[in-house]
C-alpha cells in the first residue's frame, strides 16, 4: 500500500494504488477467458497504474470489495480515493433521477447486493435537489453534502473516520470529508457528519452502486489508500507531533467540570496577584499546558505524578485527573465570564496618558528661544549647568544643512524653514524612516531575490516628508493603506504606503507555506510594534510573563490584524483593468502546466509530487503555450505595480496581484487568505498550534473593537486620543535624529526593559504639541531646530563635564559623524558631481552612479560597499539608531578608493584656489595657518592631494 504504516489490505483487492493509467477489468477478463493463462500480476514500472472502471446495474451492487489484513479498531482512520465520473454519465433530477456511488467501510463483507448503510460510514456522491454532490453519511437519513460533482475533472476524496471518545469498543461516530484538499486543510474538513451509533471496527471496504447508477455509467476510481494520519494519506512527510483534530467533541465543560476542581484543589495557592504561578489566568495556564496534548503539559504532568497538590494534601482522584486531562486534550477551553483575564494594571510610565505639562519657569530667560528650552534649562539649572554659547552663524548654517539635507550648504546662509522646503529634505529624512521600516529591495535570506517594484514605497516616504504629511495619516497609510479609500488626486499612494508592511523579510526557499507566512507575520508585528509603538514584542511570541503587561495572547492577537494579507506585486489603479485579464491568462497557463507536471510526477511515484518549483513549471510549459506565456510575462512586468501588502478580503478596491519572481513564492490564492485562521503558536512553532485568537491590541491598553477592516481599526487605535505611545515615540525619534540621541535613549523600546526618558515632561510636551497641531511633524522639527538647545556650540566646559559627563542635559552640541549615505553624497556634492534627481527605480552600485545614495539599490544584507563600511542599515531588522564605528577600513576607502580619488581630482579641476574648496567643504574660511599649510602641501604634491585631505578631515565628516 501507500507506505509502510498505511493499513494493509489483503490480496483480494490488490493493485488499487497510486496513479494512472489503465487496463480495465474488461481487458483482464477477456484475456483470462482464453486457455492461455497469464500469471498473477503484470510486471510494471513506474509509468503505469491501475484504474477500476465501474458500471452500474440499475440496482444495488457491490462490484469491488476487499478485506483489511487485520481489523482496524484504532481511533482514527483516513481513506482516500480518486474518482472520475464521466460527464456523459451524469444525470440530474431534471433529466432523470441523479446519481449515487459510495465507498463504504464496514465490519462485514456482505454480498453483491448488501446495502452497507445504517451506522456504516459511506463516502461518495449522491443527488441533492437538482445537483449531484459529494456526500458522506452514516445512514440515508443523515447525509451531508460537499461540492457539486462535475464530469470534467478527476477528484480526490479524502475522508477521516474517527472516534470522539477513544477506545476499541467505542463507535466511529465522526466522519469528515475533503474534496481535493490541500495539505494544510487538516483542521478544516469541507463537510462533517456524526452519528452516535456506528460501527466500532473496520474490517472490509468496498464500492456500492445503486438504483440510480445506470449500466452505461462509467465511473473510474483509482489510488485507493488507507492510513492512520493526515500526512500519510496526503503523501506528506510524516509528523511526530500529534495534530489537533478537526472538530473536537467536548466531553468536558469548563464551568461545570474544570472550575470546581481548580477552585477546590488549586486556587488555594495558585490564584490571585500574589501567587507565583497563577491558574486563574488563562495566559498563565497556557504557559503550562500544550492544548490537545495533555501528556506534554507540565500542569498535567505535575498532577498525574502526584507532585501537585503538594505532599501534605491528597492527590486529585482519578475522575478529577481524567477531567483535567480531557480538558487539555480538548483544547483547554476557558470561560472569560467565569475567570476573566485581569486587565493588566501597569504603572509603567510610557503606558500612562499623555498629559500636557506646564512649561517650567526658569531664571535664565535670555537664553530661551522655544518652549523646548524651558524644559532643558530647568534641568540644567537644577544641577548647576551652564549651557554652551550659541554656535557661530556659519556653523549653525552648516549644522542645519547637514542635519536636514545631508548635504553641505551651498550659496546663501539658510534657515531651517527654507531648508525644509528644499526637496533634498525628504531624501535625507526618508532614509531615517527607511531604517526603522527595515526597508530594502530584496527578499532577504538565501535567494534574496530583487523586488523591482519596492522603490515606490521609498519615493512615497520622500514625498510624505517633503509634503509634511500629518503623522497620523503617515501611519494610517502604512498600516492600512489597502483598506482605506484613496486620497484625493492620488489613487495609489496609500496602497504604495503598505510597502512598510511588505518590506518584511522572508525566505523565498521555504517549502512549508505555513512557516513562510508565519515568518512574515512575525516580522510585520515586531516591526509595526517597535516602529510606531516602541514596543518590543518578540519575547511574547513564546511566553507570557507575570510581570510583563504584554501576554503571549496579546502577541498573536496583534498577528491576527495582519493575517488576511500578504506581500506581493500589486497593480496600480491605472493598470488594473488591463492587467487582470493578462494576469489571469498567465496564471491559467501556469496552473495547467503545474497540474500536468504534478500528474507526471505522481505517475513516476515521486515523493512530494506537488512540490514543483515555479521555474520548473515555466520550463515545462507546452510548446503551444510557451510563446504566449513569454509575451504575457514581458507585458506584465511593464505594468505599473508596487510591492505592497494586500488583503483581498478587506481591501477597498480589488487589485490584481502580478507575478513575483522567487524560488518558492507565496501562493497567490486570495481565498486561502480569506479564511485564514489565527492560532496562538506554542513556542512560536507552526507545528504546535494552540487556541484560536482574534484581532486585538494588547489588553493593557483596554478593549479592542477590530470591526470589518482590522488594520484600519488598528491604525485608528494607534493614532487615537487615548494611545499613550504613538506620539511619544514619534517626537522622540525626531529628537534623536536631530541630536543623535533620544530623550528616551532606546527609541524603539518604550517598554519596561527600555530606558526611562531623561526629560519626561519635555517628551510629553512635544507629544501633546504634535497631537494638538494635528500631528504636524514640521511644527516639532521647528520647535527643536530653532531652540537655543539646538543652537549651542560644541564648546567644552570642565564645570559642566564634572556635573554631567555624558551630556545628558544637553549642555553642548556633540559633533556626530555623518551617516554612510551623507558621507558619499557630500563628497559628490563638493566635487560637483552630484545628480540631485529624485525618485524612480534604484541604480545598481556600479561605482559609477552619481545620484544620491538613497537611490542606490538596497539589496538586503548586501549593501553597497561604502554603506557597509560606514555603518549603513542592512535591513535585516528595524534599525532605530545607526551606530558609529571607527575602523581602519574606513580610511582605506577614504584615501585609496577610486571614488574618492576621482572626487579629489574633480575638485582640483573645479576650484582654482584651495581656499574656495575649503569653504565649500567645511563651510568656513581657513585660518591663516591652515591656509599656509594647505598651500604648501599643494605646491609639493598637487591640488588633488590637498583635496583628498579635505575629504578626509573629521570636520568634513562630522555635523559641527
Amino acid at each position: 500500500m501507500h507506505d509502510d504504516s498505511a493499513i494493509q489490505i489483503s490480496s483480494r483487492f490488490r493493485c488499487v494504488q497510486t496513479c494512472l493509467f489503465a487496463f480495465s477489468l474488461v481487458i483482464a477478463s477477456s484475456v483470462s477467458a482464453e486457455d492461455v493463462r497469464l500469471q498473477n500480476s503484470w510486471k510494471k514500472n513506474a509509468f503505469v497504474s491501475e484504474i477500476w472502471e465501474i458500471n452500474g446495474t440499475d440496482s444495488r451492487n457491490n462490484p469491488l470489495r476487499r478485506q483489511l489484513e487485520s481489523p482496524f479498531t484504532g481511533d482514527e482512520l483516513f481513506v482516500r480515493y480518486r474518482i472520475h465520473y464521466a460527464a456523459e454519465s451524469l444525470d440530474t433530477p431534471a433529466d432523470d433521477e441523479g446519481e449515487f456511488f459510495v465507498l463504504w467501510l464496514d465490519q462485514a463483507e456482505g454480498n453483491d447486493g448488501s446495502t452497507h448503510s445504517g451506522n456504516v460510514p459511506n463516502v461518495g456522491l449522491h443527488v441533492d435537489g437538482e445537483q449531484n454532490r459529494f456526500m458522506i453519511r452514516f445512514s440515508s437519513a443523515s447525509q451531508k453534502f460537499a461540492g457539486e460533482v462535475t464530469g470534467r475533472k478527476e477528484r480526490l476524496l479524502v475522508a477521516r473516520l474517527w472516534k470522539s471518545r477513544p477506545g476499541a469498543q467505542l463507535p466511529f461516530d465522526q466522519l469528515d470529508l475533503w474534496v481535493d484538499p490541500s495539505p494544510e486543510e487538516l483542521r478544516r474538513p469541507h463537510v462533517s457528519a456524526a452519528s452516535p451509533k456506528a460501527i466500532s471496527v473496520v474490517n472490509w471496504i468496498g464500492f456500492s452502486t445503486g438504483a440510480k447508477t445506470e449500466v452505461e455509467d462509467r465511473i473510474r476510481v483509482r489510488d485507493l489508500a488507507l492510513a492512520t494520519s493526515w500526512n500519510r494519506i496526503m503523501g506528506l512527510p510524516s509528523e511526530t507531533t500529534p495534530t489537533p483534530p478537526g472538530k473536537i467533541v467536548r466531553t468536558v465543560d469548563f464551568d461545570a467540570h474544570v472550575v470546581p476542581i481548580l477552585k477546590d484543589r488549586c486556587f488555594g495557592c495558585h490564584a490571585g496577584e500574589d501567587a507565583e504561578i497563577r491558574l486563574d489566568v488563562y495566559d498563565e495556564v497556557l504557559n503550562r499546558t500544550v492544548p490537545f496534548q495533555a501528556s506534554a503539559s507540565t500542569l498535567i504532568q505535575a498532577i498525574e505524578s502526584g507532585k501537585m497538590p503538594p505532599d501534605e494534601e491528597p492527590s486529585l482522584d482519578a475522575d478529577q485527573q481524567k477531567v483535567l486531562r480531557a480538558w487539555v486534550n480538548e483544547g483547554v477551553t476557558w470561560n472569560e465570564a467565569t475567570l476573566p483575564t485581569p486587565v493588566p494594571d501597569s504603572d509603567h510610565w510610557a503606558f500612562q496618558p499623555i498629559v500636557r505639562p506646564d512649561i517650567p519657569v526658569v531664571t535664565g530667560k535670555d537664553w530661551i528661544r522655544t518652549p523646548v528650552d524651558h524644559f532643558i534649562a530647568a534641568e540644567q539649572e537644577r544641577i548647576g549647568i551652564e549651557p554652551a554659547p550659541e554656535a557661530s552663524p556659519s556653523v549653525l548654517t552648516r549644522r542645519w544643512s547637514l542635519d536636514l539635507l545631508g548635504l553641505p550648504v551651498s550659496g546663501d546662509a539658510a534657515d531651517p524653514e527654507s531648508l525644509m522646503d528644499d526637496a533634498a529634505f525628504g531624501v535625507r529624512w526618508a532614509r531615517h524612516w527607511l531604517d526603522v521600516a527595515r526597508w530594502a529591495e530584496s527578499n532577504g535570506h538565501q535567494h534574496n531575490r530583487f523586488r523591482p517594484a519596492a522603490w515606490r514605497y521609498r519615493d512615497w516616504v520622500v514625498d510624505a516628508f517633503n509634503n509634511n504629511m500629518p503623522f497620523d495619516e503617515f501611519l494610517r497609510a502604512q498600516i492600512a493603506g489597502d483598506e482605506l479609500a484613496p486620497a484625493t488626486g492620488d489613487p495609489d499612494g496609500r496602497l504604495i504606503a503598505t510597502g512598510f508592511l511588505s518590506a518584511a523579510r522572508y525566505s523565498g526557499n521555504e517549502l512549508d507555506k505555513r512557516i513562510q507566512r508565519n515568518d512574515i507575520l512575525v516580522d510585520v508585528v515586531n516591526t509595526t510594534a517597535s516602529a510606531f509603538l516602541g514596543l518590543t514584542l518578540e519575547c511574547a511570541q513564546c511566553h507570557s510573563h507575570k510581570f510583563d503587561p504584554i501576554s503571549m495572547r496579546d502577541y498573536y492577537r496583534m498577528q491576527a490584524f495582519f493575517a488576511g494579507g500578504q506581500p506581493g506585486n500589486v497593480s496600480l489603479s491605472e493598470a488594473e483593468a488591463s492587467a487582470r485579464p493578462l494576469a489571469d491568462q498567465r496564471q491559467a497557463i501556469f496552473d495547467q502546466t503545474y497540474a500536468r507536471l504534478v500528474r507526471v510526477r505522481e505517475r513516476r511515484g515521486l515523493p512530494n509530487a506537488s512540490l514543483v518549483t515555479p521555474s520548473t513549471v515555466i520550463k515545462g510549459i507546452s510548446s503551444a503555450d510557451r510563446g504566449r506565456f513569454g509575451t504575457l510575462e514581458r507585458e506584465l512586468k511593464l505594468f505599473p505595480q508596487t510591492w505592497a501588502f494586500y488583503a483581498p478580503s478587506t481591501a477597498r478596491h480589488a487589485r490584481t496581484v502580478l507575478p513575483q519572481e522567487m524560488r518558492w513564492p507565496l501562493p497567490n490564492a486570495p481565498r486561502t487568505l480569506e479564511d485564514v485562521e489565527c492560532r496562538l503558536l506554542l513556542r512560536g512553532d507552526v507545528n504546535a498550534p494552540g487556541p484560536q485568537v482574534y484581532p486585538g491590541w494588547p489588553r493593557v491598553f483596554g478593549d479592542s473593537q477590530p470591526g470589518t477592516h482590522p488594520r484600519t481599526a488598528l491604525a485608528d487605535w494607534m493614532t487615537g486620543a487615548n494611545n499613550p505611545l504613538t506620539a511619544r515615540v514619534w517626537v522622540n525619534r525626531i529628537w534623536q535624529w536631530h541630536f543623535g540621541r533620544g530623550l528616551v535613549s532606546t527609541s524603539s523600546d518604550f517598554g519596561t526593559q527600555g530606558a526611562k526618558p531623561s526629560h519626561p515632561r519635555l517628551l510629553d510636551f512635544l507629544a501633546s504639541e504634535l497631537i494638538s497641531h494635528n500631528w504636524d511633524s514640521r511644527h516639532i522639527h521647528l520647535l527643536i531646530l530653532n531652540s537655543a538647545t539646538y543652537r549651542q556650540s560644541s564648546q567644552f566646559s570642565k564645570h559642566n563635564e564634572e556635573r554631567d559627563p555624558d551630556n545628558l542635559t544637553w549642555w553642548r552640541w556633540e559633533p556626530r559623524r555623518l551617516e554612510a549615505e551623507a558621507v558619499r553624497d557630500c563628497i559628490l556634492a563638493v566635487s560637483g558631481q552630484l545628480d540631485r534627481k529624485r525618485g524612480g527605480p534604484s541604480e545598481t552600485d556600479s561605482g559609477k552612479s552619481v545620484r544620491r545614495s538613497l537611490y542606490l539599490r538596497q539589496h538586503r544584507e548586501r549593501l553597497p560597499e561604502q554603506q557597509n563600511l560606514f555603518d549603513g542599515s542592512n535591513a535585516v531588522v528595524s534599525c532605530t539608531l545607526r551606530r558609529v564605528s571607527t575602523s581602519p577600513l574606513q580610511p582605506l576607502w577614504l584615501m585609496n578608493s577610486s571614488f574618492t580619488q576621482t572626487a579629489a581630482q574633480k575638485m582640483a579641476d573645479r576650484f582654482e584656489k584651495v581656499n574656495e574648496a575649503f569653504l565649500e567643504c567645511l563651510g568656513r574660511q581657513p585660518t591663516l595657518e591652515e591656509s599656509d599649510l594647505l598651500s604648501e602641501h599643494t605646491m609639493n604634491h598637487g591640488a588633488a592631494s590637498t583635496m583628498l585631505i579635505l575629504l578626509n578631515t573629521s570636520e568634513f565628516l562630522y555635523i559641527p
Binding site: D3, D4, P237, S238, T240, T241, E379, R382, I383, H445, Q446, H447, S507, N509, L511, D512, T536, R604, N608, L611, R741, V744, S745, T746, S748, G754, A755, S758, S794, E801, E802, D804, P805, D806, L808, P815, R817, E861, D871, T880, R883, V884, S885, T886, P888, L889, P891, L892, M895, N896, S897, L933, H937, N940, H941, I949, T953, S954, E955, Y958
Partner: protein
C-alpha cells in the same frame, strides 16, 4: 570625575537608569579584554562546507544502508524523524563510498577523503549535531549564529568583541567565500557584526585580489602619502582640540595610522609566491580542482600566523540533490588535499596547538534518495562536524546516530553548543560574555543557551 561623583550626580539628577543605559549604548570599547579562562587556541579557522555534506558518506559510516537500500525508512526510525518538509522516508540509498579505519585511533573515514584521513588522530568528530532548519540560507545562520533570523553576530565578531585582536595591522576577522557558483549565497552570519558595533564585523576578501583599497592609488608615492597623513593629522588634531573630549574623534585620528600599517602588511599577506614550491604544491595550487581552495587554506594559515583571530573559509557546492556520487567526489577533490595540507602545515609549524580548525556545513543530508536522481535531500536532523587543534582531543568521535544516520541517538548537540565549544577554546565563556543590546543582555548563545560539548578538549 570619580565614580563617587558620578553616582552622586545620577542620584541628584534622578537619571540613574537612563544614564547607565546610555553609557552602554555609547560604549564602543570594552576595557576588560581578558579571556575568562586560559585559552587553548589563539585563532580559529572555520572551514565552512556550504550546501550540506552528507554525514553518511563522509564521517558517519552506516553499513545498514547497503542492506536497506531501496527500502523505506524503518518505522522505528521514521517516527523520530522531525516533521520537516523534504524529510523523505522512502527509498534508502547506500553510500557509494567505502569506509576504512585510519590512524592509531582506528576511526573510520570515507574513501572520499584519503588525505584528511591521515590526520584522523587529530580530529574530534561530532556525529550528533542537530537543528531544525532545512533551508540553506536560514540554516547557515542557525549553524553559525544559533538562529535563522540572520540578525545575530558571527562567532568571529563575538571573539573580537571579547578578546580584541593580536595584530592591529590586519582585520581580526577575515572571510573568504570560495566557489559561490551554486544556489547557496554566502550568509553574513559567517562574518557579520549583528547587533554588535560594526567595527567587529569581518572583512570579506577575495583570495586573489586581497583586501580592498590596500594598494596605493597609481602615481602616489609613499612619501606623498606620508605627507598627506601628516597634514591630515594636524588638521584633525586642531579640530579635536576645538571640540575637546570626544573619544570617537580621537579614535578616528588613530585609525589612519592603523590603516597605513594595514596597507603595508595586507599585500604582504597575499604574497604566497614567497612560500616554497613544495608548500604551494602541497596545497594543490598547481592543480585546477584544488587551486582556489588551496589558496584559501594557505592564506588561512598565513593569516593565523600573523595573529588574525578568526578566519572563515567557505567552500560552496555540497548540495547533492541529484548525483551524489559526482557531486561529493568533485567536492572531495576540491577540498581533501588542501584541508589535509593545512592540517599538516599547522602541525609541522606547531601552530596547530594554538589554532582551532573546525570543519562542517549547515546541515547533513537524508539517508534516503531524493526523487529518482541518486542524490540526497537536506537534513538538519543529524549532521557531522569535526574539530582539530587548539586543545582538542583528537582521534575520537562523539555522539551516535541511528542505524541509517537519520536521527541522533545520544549526546545530541545544537549549534549553540558547538559555538560555546569554539569560544571556550579561545578563552571565552559564552554565557559570561555579555552585550547590552538596547536593554536586552545578549550572549553568544542567546536565550536558549548552549554548553561546551563535554569531552572535546584534552
Amino acid at each position: 570625575m570619580t565614580e563617587l561623583n558620578r553616582r552622586t550626580f545620577q542620584a541628584a539628577s534622578g537619571l540613574g537608569a537612563a544614564s547607565i543605559a546610555l553609557q552602554s549604548l555609547l560604549a564602543d570599547e570594552r576595557s576588560d579584554r581578558r579571556p575568562h579562562h586560559a585559552a587553548t587556541a589563539r585563532s580559529v579557522i572555520f572551514l565552512f562546507m556550504s550546501g550540506g555534506p552528507s554525514q553518511v558518506d563522509t564521517f558517519d559510516p552506516k553499513p545498514a544502508l547497503a542492506e536497506l537500500a531501496g527500502k523505506d525508512v524503518p518505522e522505528s526510525i521514521a517516527r523520530n524523524v522531525p516533521p520537516i518538509k523534504r524529510a523523505g522516508l522512502k527509498n534508502l540509498m547506500a553510500s557509494p563510498w567505502k569506509f576504512s579505519q585510519h590512524g592509531d585511533c582506528g576511526q573510520p573515514v570515507s574513501e572520499l577523503f584519503p588525505e584528511v584521513a591521515k590526520h584522523v588522530d587529530d580530529l574530534c568528530v561530532i556525529r550528533s549535531m542537530s537543528h531544525r532548519n532545512p533551508v540553506h540560507g536560514p540554516a547557515e545562520c542557525v549553524a553559525l549564529t544559533g538562529t535563522s533570523a540572520a540578525d545575530r553576530p558571527s562567532l568571529g565578531a563575538w571573539s573580537l568583541y571579547g578578546l580584541g585582536t593580536p595584530n592591529s595591522e590586519l582585520p581580526g576577522l577575515l572571510a573568504m567565500n570560495l566557489h559561490t557558483d551554486g544556489m547557496q549565497h554566502p550568509q553574513a552570519a559567517g562574518w557579520g557584526a549583528g547587533f554588535l558595533p560594526s567595527k567587529y564585523q569581518g572583512t570579506v576578501i577575495d583570495p586573489v585580489k586581497g583586501i580592498r583599497h590596500t594598494s596605493m592609488p597609481s602615481g602616489i608615492s609613499v612619501q606623498q602619502r606620508t605627507a598627506e597623513l601628516d597634514l591630515l593629522k594636524q588638521l584633525n588634531q586642531r579640530h579635536l582640540a576645538r571640540v575637546q573630549d570626544h573619544s570617537e574623534l580621537a579614535a578616528r585620528i588613530e585609525s589612519y595610522q592603523t590603516a597605513f600599517a594595514m596597507q603595508t602588511s595586507a599585500p604582504e599577506l597575499f604574497e604566497i609566491n614567497t612560500e616554497s614550491a613544495s608548500v604551494q604544491q602541497a596545497y594543490g595550487l598547481d592543480r585546477p580542482e584544488t587551486a582556489l581552495t588551496g589558496r584559501g587554506c594557505l592564506l588561512a594559515r598565513r593569516m593565523v600566523e600573523r595573529g588574525v583571530r578568526f578566519v572563515q573559509v567557505r567552500v560552496g557546492g555540497w548540495d547533492a540533490h541529484g548525483n551524489l556520487k559526482g557531486n561529493h567526489q568533485k567536492m572531495a577533490d576540491r577540498t581533501d588535499g588542501p584541508v589535509a595540507a593545512l592540517l599538516a602545515d599547522l602541525k609541522q609549524s606547531g601552530l596547530l596547538e594554538s589554532t582551532l580548525v573546525v570543519w562542517g556545513g549547515e546541515f547533513g543530508r537524508t539517508p534516503t534518495m531524493e526523487g529518482l536522481g541518486n542524490g540526497r535531500d537536506h537534513s538538519p536532523a543529524a549532521y557531522t562536524v569535526w574539530l582539530a587543534g587548539g586543545g582538542v582531543q583528537g582521534g575520537q568521535a562523539i555522539g551516535h546516530t541511528d542505524d541509517i544516520g537519520y536521527t541522533v541517538m545520544d549526546h545530541p548537540y545544537r549549534p549553540q553548543d558547538l559555538h560555546a565549544t569554539i569560544l571556550h577554546a579561545t578563552g571565552i565563556d559564552a554565557k559570561q560574555l555579555t552585550y547590552d543590546h538596547h536593554g536586552l543582555i545578549e550572549t553568544p548563545v542567546g536565550v536558549t543557551g548552549g554548553n561546551v560539548i563535554p569531552g572535546v578538549f584534552a
